[in-house]
């Protein structure tokens, strides 16, 4: 476990015990990154700050559900921020249940410690370069999905391709991002955009 993650785990423990200063320390560590994500989605600073505020309050309220052995506190926080930001701008998805979304986010926050350490050393410029190196259609698919909150089926509609193709673009983009930044030895993820069975097409 790297230092950041150990510190985060300790912060989570303190927050769970009701230590508000520990939440303040978590804020000091990640508020700027959280605000960057919120602003990318909602575009307006005041509204983005409201999102960040609400996300940290959610972490405070729900910290008992977080298990540092199973996930990254930073990754969970960032997903909570993203959920709230998208909820603000995606009025056409009125059924988004933030409580459910936060809970499910816990299942998607488990980078392994080695990767987490690499992530901690990764500069924004490196990721920007990796994103810029993606084919335009793959970069667009990732941005529509992550920052605009569209599902892969919606991405497919927007970009005029089959759902399987949109999903394949997301898959290829993430695989390239990962490999570009880690020299990953991850198993090959395929080279075709459309690698889906009929039920996801």
């Amino acid at each position: 476990m790297n230092d950041d993650r150990r510190t985060d785990a300790r912060l989570a423990e303190l927050i769970r015990s009701g230590d508000s200063e520990a939440l303040g320390e978590l804020y000091d560590r990640y508020a700027a990154a959280a605000l960057a994500t919120a602003m990318r989605v909602v575009r307006a600073r005041d509204e983005a700050e409201d999102v960040v505020h609400d996300a940290f309050v959610a972490v405070w309220r729900k910290i008992d559900r977080f298990d540092a052995d199973r996930g990254s506190l930073r990754a969970w926080l960032m997903t909570v921020v993203r959920n709230r930001a998208i909820d603000r701008v995606r009025a056409r998805r009125p059924n988004m249940d933030l409580e459910v979304a936060d809970e499910r986010s816990l299942l998607r926050t488990g980078p392994n410690p080695t990767w987490e350490a690499a992530l901690g050393r990764t500069a924004a410029t490196d990721v920007q370069a990796a994103m810029a190196s993606l084919p335009q259609e793959q970069r667009q698919a990732v941005e529509l999905a992550y920052f605009e909150g569209y599902t892969y089926r919606e991405v497919a509609e927007i970009t005029g391709v089959a759902p399987g193709t949109a999903n394949g673009r997301l898959r290829l983009a993430l695989a390239k991002l990962r490999d570009a930044l880690s020299g990953s030895t991850a198993a090959p993820l395929g080279s075709s955009e459309s690698m889906f069975s009929e039920d996801t097409r």
Binding site: R61, R104, S105, L170, L177, R178, S197
Partner: protein, 251 residues
């Protein structure tokens, strides 16, 4: 039920939070029960964590921290951590929690303090072996997962029969427990809600104690202050024994 192939195919969209809610639920359910490693999913989750790193940090206004801390000072945490670890269940038949003879019926005594173990609850939901005992608005484990995920409140129950949780979700309440102590074949656990000094109201029974038990209570929590379980020989209208599991439903 989604299969491994479909889950792997959806890994990137899942990692990015870019699938429909129903698909996400089914992927999560599959991952929580499948014996395969699903390294594709893990890999995609790791890669998705990079996406927000591509943004240059933006310093918040000076006022935001103060506003947040003021809110926190007035915001209770869900399921605050217990001051002491929960007492381990005894390796024998459940005994009444209050063995001394009370001068008042047990349901008029102050409830035991709630100790909270929602992390353990999440583990039970994710990996427990399921024995869904139902009377039955909840039809399946999916519904249970949804209920836990959307819980408005979770109250820990503990006692000599083991440990469990009362989960309030909207107007529905659920009791969930893993591996309650076994009972003789001619006995069952009966569930009660108590509102202050009023008589307990029967809200369900549990007879099969293997794996995870899940019971939708027959009424919502309303203004009830205490949840309790007694051991009975059959379903009864009023408890005939002391409770073996209690949860305080107050704050």
């Amino acid at each position: 039920m989604m299969n491994c192939t479909t889950v792997n195919e959806l890994a990137a969209a899942y990692a990015l939070g870019a699938i429909e809610a129903d698909e996400e639920r089914r992927v999560a359910e599959h991952l929580s029960t499948c014996g395969q490693q699903h390294s594709d999913v893990r890999s995609m989750i790791e890669a998705a964590a990079l996406v927000p790193v591509s943004l240059e940090p933006v310093a918040p206004s000076a006022a935001l921290r103060g506003r947040l801390m003021a809110t926190i000072a007035q915001t209770p945490q869900e399921n605050a951590v217990p001051a002491t670890p929960a007492q381990a269940p005894q390796p024998r038949a459940p005994q009444p929690i209050r063995s001394a003879e009370p001068r008042r019926p047990w349901w008029q005594l102050a409830p035991l303090p709630a100790s909270l173990a929602a992390v353990a609850l999440a583990a039970v939901v994710g990996i427990g072996s399921w024995n869904i005992s139902l009377n039955q608005q909840l039809g399946d484990r999916d519904a249970a997962l949804r209920a836990v995920a959307s819980a408005d409140a979770i109250f820990a129950a503990q006692g000599t029969a083991g440990a469990g949780w009362v989960i309030e979700s909207g107007e529905q309440a659920i009791f969930m427990a893993e591996d309650l102590l076994d009972l003789p074949a001619d006995q069952l656990y009966q569930l009660w809600l108590i509102d202050g000094d009023n008589a307990p109201v029967a809200v369900g029974t549990v007879s099969d104690t293997d794996g995870v038990a899940l019971v939708t209570l027959e009424r919502d929590l309303g203004s009830a202050t205490t949840f309790a379980i007694t051991v009975e020989s059959e379903r009864v209208d009023a408890p005939t024994s002391e409770p073996v599991l209690v949860a305080s439903l107050g704050t």
